[in-house]
């Protein structure tokens, strides 16, 4: 009898463990919101929440693409500098005017150029990593350093203001039904990416390449192409982040635009439960991950904590989230 009961208890325990295993990020997420609500009652006000979403959109966009790269067993350390480069292209194009004061380059074209530049950097990363067979960490680090230095050189290290174009300003600052447009953009891309990752063959191959590159190759999967594609995806996402950022700041700063964003994005992906060793991960986790980071930033301001301590808090969040996700034997 007793044995049977303890067996039933075991079942219930297993079930709870199962929920924890699959949804630990969400559990942590709800917990964090609860704690924040108690610590700072203003936290739960609608305008504050919407503000958090707006502020996290840039890093969020990069995190979406970064998820693909990390699942495929790679990493991209060049996102920040690439954001600055693509942003610089965008600002320089949109501030060019004809003699009569009208924009010389249509806004849409400037944005496309920004996306194209960022995607090309992804392609460059991917090509070097796969063809020269170098570790992604080193390649993207090097490419990132070069990109930042080129921006500094061409802009002479300065900050360049963009022209005030209302349509452009709206991308980062507008709202639809009071929901921030940049967040809507990120959600839209996330939905497409989710389908890409879970429903298409490409998505499955991304997991396969990250899980066991040899087995993927022996199954006839074009491993190099898949990996290049993931770097192009994170490039495209960085271009999108650049567009949002430029629209919000209306300026590009050679030295600081996008600085540290790659680490924020990687943090979001890790907190979201995607494994750095590749082969495992979920987009929804990354979304929760970057929102958690946004909440942390927001709380630092609400509680009047020195911004110098934000690194401490974020580091602790990473350790906590990863510890929680570690499987017991």
């Amino acid at each position: 009898m007793i044995a049977v009961e303890s067996r039933a208890e075991n079942r219930a325990l297993e079930l709870l463990k199962g929920i924890w295993r699959n949804y630990s990020v969400l559990v942590v997420f709800v917990g964090i919101i609860g704690i924040c609500a108690i610590a700072a009652p203003r936290f739960l006000r609608m305008d504050n929440l919407l503000n958090i979403l707006r502020n996290t959109s840039t890093v969020g966009a990069i995190a979406l693409g970064m998820t693909f790269v990390i699942i495929a067993g790679g990493i991209d350390l060049s996102s920040g500098p690439v954001l600055a480069t693509a942003g610089a292209v965008l600002i320089l194009l949109q501030r060019m005017v004809n003699a009569d004061g009208t924009p010389a380059v249509p806004l849409a074209l400037a944005i496309v150029a920004c996306l194209a530049v960022a995607t090309s950097f992804g392609f460059l990363n991917g090509i070097i990593i796969t063809k020269a067979k170098l570790p992604p960490f080193i390649v993207t680090l090097a490419v990132g350093i070069m990109a930042r230095s080129l921006v500094m050189y061409f802009m002479r290290g300065a900050t360049v203001m963009g022209n005030n174009i209302p349509q452009f300003t709206r991308i980062g600052n507008g709202s639809v039904f009071s929901i921030p447009i940049p967040f809507l953009l990120v959600v839209g891309v996330a939905i497409i990416f989710h389908i890409l990752l879970t429903r298409t063959k490409f998505g499955t191959y991304v997991f396969a390449v990250g899980g066991n590159e040899n087995a993927a190759r022996y199954s006839g999967i074009k491993v190099d192409r898949i990996r290049i594609a993931t770097y192009m995806i994170v490039g495209l996402c960085t271009g999108m982040a650049a567009t949002i950022e430029m629209s919000r700041m209306a300026a590009v700063a050679a030295a600081t635009s996008g600085s540290q964003y790659e680490f924020e994005a990687i943090t979001a992906v890790i907190v979201g439960g995607t494994s750095l060793t590749g082969g495992k991960g979920r987009l929804i986790g990354s979304i929760v991950g970057f929102i958690i980071l946004g909440i942390v930033n927001n709380m630092m301001i609400m509680l009047n904590i020195s911004p110098y301590l934000s690194g401490c808090v974020k580091g602790a969040v990473i350790l906590f989230a990863v510890l929680m996700q570690r499987r017991e034997r």
Partner: protein, 496 residues
């Protein structure tokens, strides 16, 4: 209970994710006894032994080793210290280290100032390996070894230190007759020294040959422990599966001898010496030989993984250039590799993914097609009797034999014209093995040309219509099913 008992496991229960895989299992071994452990794929053999060696903790029941109760959460290192050593079914060597470093991992001989004494380590490693009849240089990296050599290193590692109970989980599944013989001599001499051995294998003949007793598990339940002298291999099989298992014998190829699908000519490289062969539509061709004979290497050349110095491949009479697996798949070749962990499976993904990679590649469109995929997967799970909690189960959580079935299913679902199977039933139980043979025969009947590389002679005898025997990179003989016998194959394989 005899007081010579080294190990007693009583009422062991274990569940994974709420599914119970061991129910109240009793198991015991005496000093110097060689105990066979049999059961179908997924019966719980490895799990029981992993509990013993400290990798899993049991949910209920107790383990008594040399008279004292073992702590429930004992670690593998603690178990090694008390004298339990285990050779795992899935090889767990570190690829980037040398053979000697692997053998002495964490227990390296130290010299002055506590530094590792590499000379002594390499010498000791060479000595242990030579006891196993291996002449490989212990300074070589494990990465470069073939799977059979890795298995021998794994065995060397297990016997390098004092053991009182040695668990061997399917040590021979990647070995050929010669190494198996050496291993058996070793087991017997260990037993004579009073060391107890638990021996897990799906080759029942080996159980009969080497063990004193055999314990059978079915579905996580204890079925029986018998003296080997009192049972036949056939009876063990019946106990395992719970029904009669019929064995079959192959006959000569009945089809059109001119309908050659795949022809390989003049392949030479460092190992292979001017090797060529043909296989016809619907034919089942076997490759036999000892480790290092070059069978796997030959197949790797055909599949574009290994670059030969010379050699050409023809598909249906037309020359083709195959530089990669992609090229091979394009001309409808399929290749089940011998090393499922390294090159066959993406362990961290589920059965659905692993079974469908190739068929997705072959079908047009960018979406996977959830319904068709699911139907395919369910069909193959049924057909190969893959034991799993659901098709969404991670392959890493399957038992070894069931992993092998998943590795096979990827290619069975691919619609290949020529299917190369390298050790297709490595670790698969007797019942499921017959199922796989049946599927292979059906595929052949549909016109698929099948090439089987196998170190298991009974397997070659029961399914191949023609057998090519290789020795040190050369083809030494070809035999039709009607003229086939173990003795003849061995004659050519050793090339005396």
């Amino acid at each position: 209970m005899s007081n010579a008992a080294v190990l007693q496991m009583k009422g062991i229960c274990k569940s994974f994710f709420g599914v119970e895989v061991l129910h109240n299992v009793d198991f015991g071994v005496d000093k110097g006894e060689i105990m066979g452990l049999c059961g179908e794929n997924g019966a719980g053999k490895s799990t029981l032994m992993k509990i013993l060696s400290g990798i899993h903790a049991q949910d209920a029941g107790e383990v008594i080793f040399k008279g004292s109760v073992i702590r429930r959460n004992a670690t593998p290192l603690e178990m090694q210290r008390v004298g339990v050593s285990m050779i795992h079914q899935e090889l767990i060597l570190l690829n980037e280290l040398t053979i000697a470093q692997n053998i002495f991992l964490c227990r390296e001989p130290r010299g002055a100032a506590g530094l590792i004494n590499f000379n002594r380590m390499n010498e000791d490693a060479a000595r242990i390996l030579s006891k196993l009849g291996e002449k490989i240089d212990p300074k070589r990296k494990v990465r470069d070894l073939k799977i059979a050599q890795k298995q021998m290193v794994e065995i060397a590692k297990a016997i390098a230190f004092n053991v009182e109970l040695l668990v061997m989980d399917e040590p021979t599944s990647a070995l050929t007759g010669k190494e198996t013989k050496i291993l058996f001599d070793l087991i017997s001499s260990l037993s004579a020294q009073g060391i107890a051995v638990v021996y897990i294998s799906h080759r029942l003949k080996e159980i009969i040959d080497v063990c004193h007793k055999v314990t059978v598990l079915r579905d996580g339940h204890f079925v029986a422990t018998k003296n080997v002298a009192d049972v036949t291999a056939h009876e063990i099989a019946t106990l395992m599966v719970g029904r009669e298992v019929k064995e079959s014998k192959a006959s000569d190829f009945p089809g059109d001898p001119n309908a050659v699908v795949l022809e390989v000519r003049g392949v030479s490289d460092d190992l292979l010496k001017d090797v060529g062969f043909k296989v016809r539509r619907g034919e089942i061709l076997g490759f036999s030989g000892l480790i290092g004979a070059g069978r796997t290497e030959l197949m790797e050349v055909v599949f574009g993984i290994r670059k030969p110095r010379t050699g050409s491949v023809f598909i249906e009479g037309k020359p083709v250039t195959i530089r990669s697996a992609i090229d091979a798949i394009r001309v409808d070749l399929g290749f089940v590799t011998e090393d499922r962990k390294e090159t066959g499976l993406v362990l961290c993904r589920d059965i659905v993914d692993n079974a469908n990679y190739v068929s997705w590649l072959k079908n047009p469109g960018m979406f996977k097609g959830a319904k068709a995929t699911m139907e395919n997967t369910r069909r193959i799970i049924d057909r190969l009797a893959i034991r799993c909690s659901s098709p969404a189960q991670n392959v890493s959580n399957l038992s070894g034999g069931n992993q092998q079935k998943v590795a096979l299913s990827k290619w069975l679902l691919s619609g290949a014209k020529v299917l190369v199977l390298d050790e297709p039933t490595r670790g698969v139980d007797v019942g499921a093995r017959q199922e796989i043979y049946q599927i292979i025969r059906e595929l052949a009947a549909e016109g698929v040309a099948i090439v089987i590389v196998s170190s298991d002679l009974p397997e070659i005898l029961s399914i191949c219509e023609r057998v090519i025997v290789m020795h040190e990179g050369r083809i030494t003989g070809t035999l039709n099913a009607s003229e086939l016998s173990e003795a003849k194959v061995m004659y050519y394989a050793t090339d005396v």
